[in-house]
């Protein structure tokens, strides 16, 4: 084999083995760390492993948000309209967290069946619903397009809007 041919072969082999090594690393990382998403119905149906953290999402049920007066603990209920999930969280909630809003929480299920959240995510814009939550609601039959206008209806003044204020 000519010298530059041989060199090229070495280079290509090196590149591929490198990529393979990196992929393996990514594979291991994924196995350990990938966050699966479950809806309240999934959890009710016992699809969840108890020893690892996962993401749960749904709508924050009206009238269920309870704050502890002394600490930063907040309890609320997530629902996909078919089943409910009790959630407990300690810390500051995102600005867009409110009753009726679709949110995603990261955490673990404790032995009493309460989801202990380490992180609560709400999207930047109240017009959006997280894709997972929308999917969960559609699966449980609790999704109604008219409740959650996905498109930006900018020319219709929404209720309580302050046009011209």
């Amino acid at each position: 084999m000519k010298k530059h041919r041989k060199q090229k072969l070495v280079v290509i082999l090196m590149g591929f083995s490198f990529l393979a090594a990196a992929m393996t690393l990514a594979g291991f990382a994924l196995k350990e760390q990938i966050d699966l998403f479950y809806s309240p119905s999934d959890i009710h149906n016992g699809l969840v492993q108890h020893d690892r953290s996962f993401r749960a999402g749904g709508l924050v049920k009206y009238g269920t948000v309870q704050r502890d007066p002394e600490s930063l603990i907040v309890d609320f209920v997530l629902t996909d309209q078919a089943h409910d999930l009790k959630v407990s969280y300690q810390g500051i909630l995102p600005d867009l967290f409110r009753e009726g809003q679709g949110i995603v929480a990261m955490g673990e299920l404790n032995s009493q069946g309460v989801f202990v959240a380490s992180q609560v995510l709400a999207k930047h814009d109240e017009q959006y619903m997280p894709a997972e939550v929308k999917d969960a609601l559609q699966r449980s039959g609790g999704y109604h397009q008219e409740d959650h206008p996905g498109s930006y209806q900018y020319y219709q003044a929404p209720e309580g809007s302050s046009y011209g204020r």
Partner: protein, 647 residues
Amino acid sequence: MVAELGLLALIFALIFSLLLALLPIVGWYGRYSNLLAMAKPMAQGQFVFLLISFLLLVWVFLTDDFSVAYVAQQSNTRLPYYYKISGIWGGHEGSMLLWLLILAGWTLAVAQFSKALPKDLVAVVLAVMGMVTAAFTLFTVFTSSPFERIFPDIPADGRDLNPLLQDIGLILHPPMLYMGYVGFAVAFAFAIAALITGRMDNLWARWARPWTDMAWVFLTLGIGLGSWWAYYELGWGGWWFWDPVENASLIPWLVGTALMHSLAVTEKRSGFKVWTLLLAIFTFAFVLLGTFLVRSGILTSVHAFANDPTRGQLILAILLTTLVASLGLFAWRAPQFREQLSFHPGSRESFLLINNVILVTLGVIVALLTLLPLLWPVLGMGQVSIGAPVFNMVFNPLMALLIFFMGFGQLLQWKKDSLKTVLWPMLIWLPISILLAFALTYLYGRTLNLLVVLSLVLALWILFSSLLSMQKRGVFAADGWQALRRQPPSYYGMLLGHLGVVLVVIGATFVTQYEVKRDVRMGPGTEHELAGYRFVLQDFEVVEASNWVADQANMQVFRGQRFVTELQPQKRDYFIAGQVMTEAGIQSRLHRDLYVSMGEPLTDGDWSFRLQVKPMVPFMWLGTLILCLAGILAVLDRRYRRGDDYE
């Protein structure tokens, strides 16, 4: 009327771009020099009409013409004029027009500044850029016109700009990012033109290189600004989330960085030609992929605008057409550039090769991890998300490896260098770096955090390597000053660029490892201590502006008895847009940031607060600026200004 004129100008620009895409190519195949000569005026016409169209959109925004749907959606009479203008790129339609204007601007720049290049090559480069412009102008006219009217219910006032975007960071971030994104279209056009014309010598590389470097500088700045904006404006002190939209800009940056280094070999040694072409194609393909991810609506994020699915499908079609056409052309025409470059393992070429392998691997891995959660549900496997830990586990070790090799690479000469006089003397500095890093880490934190040690090892390693490189060039000899002045700007560009990388690494590692945060409940008079700082809440007050009302906390910070600063975090209610925003109170010093954000009102007039002390954050911003400076130095090199040496 003005809006219709804007649309008309856009359509004129479309006609110019179609002619620009077509005429020079016909001219090149038929050898009609008059058609080749059409490229420049077409590029000028396309730019002029896009500029007119853009200025008319500015006019429509400034005059609050809410009969234009996009203005009603993005603006409001109460917005100050600068946010009315930046509101143009706060949404999808206006962003596209800015994108097009910048693309036309780059095209014009290539047309004006390439007098020394052979006419046919320039004409074909411009034609390729014309194709890209034509495709995206068509897209804008048919799916995303910012000039569409709402009749007959014209709103009295607009919806207001998303409050997150009412900020200096957002005035600057999108234009810079687009400059970078679109700038890689120039590198792409040069690559396609090389394939079409068969001209690809070191002069080609000498011309393609500064354009690529400039695009890279803008992309770096754009990403840096985005991260900085997220850090202080989102209100919680995060600066990188491995969010798909961030990754969409990081992937072209990684592959573009590889391209920049590969072009060096193509210019200096006429090597890596085929590889350089492939990288130029893939960098631009990743730019288009990023555009697709952001614009298609398959992601939900602040960057992804509410939209209809045809947009995503069209961008995907543009992406696939570009890929198939350019890779087809590549397969057909690239073999002519096959080279017989051979080099010694201990040469700069071989380390640039390692650089390329690692950077491209990083780009591919980040792309796969970003796309996986999007493909997973399509394959019917349920919803998954890939969080920061996965990205970090893969990204960080590869980055460390890259920096380790960087220390050798910047020392070596082209073609062949002696392992004995370079590699072994450099390796002596490895144990020294490690010992010093351990000592520094212990002195800093009184514990041995291994990740911090690693980041310091890498920083010291690059420092020693740079000093060694300067010593080899005689900087520390008797007439060192002369030697310092003799070095070309691109040499300093290289050293500074690598220094910038390690500064970012240091900042990122220290803040991740040593930051302390605590969520607390506070009322007037309460105090909390965190990392040696005492945060004392004085009182609350209400602050008003034209489009928001805020609760503000006045908080004094002490270190021991010494007064440090007063922070004024706010919770703002943007009443027109109906959104609540957290404005953090930040005091920034090179060695640490104090960062206070207001959570929610609790009982008895108390609020929840998040207090944070974040070490070394400014190192990241400083590192990014140094990276940009390095790129500019590389472009300033004298050899790019000598225009007279072709033929």
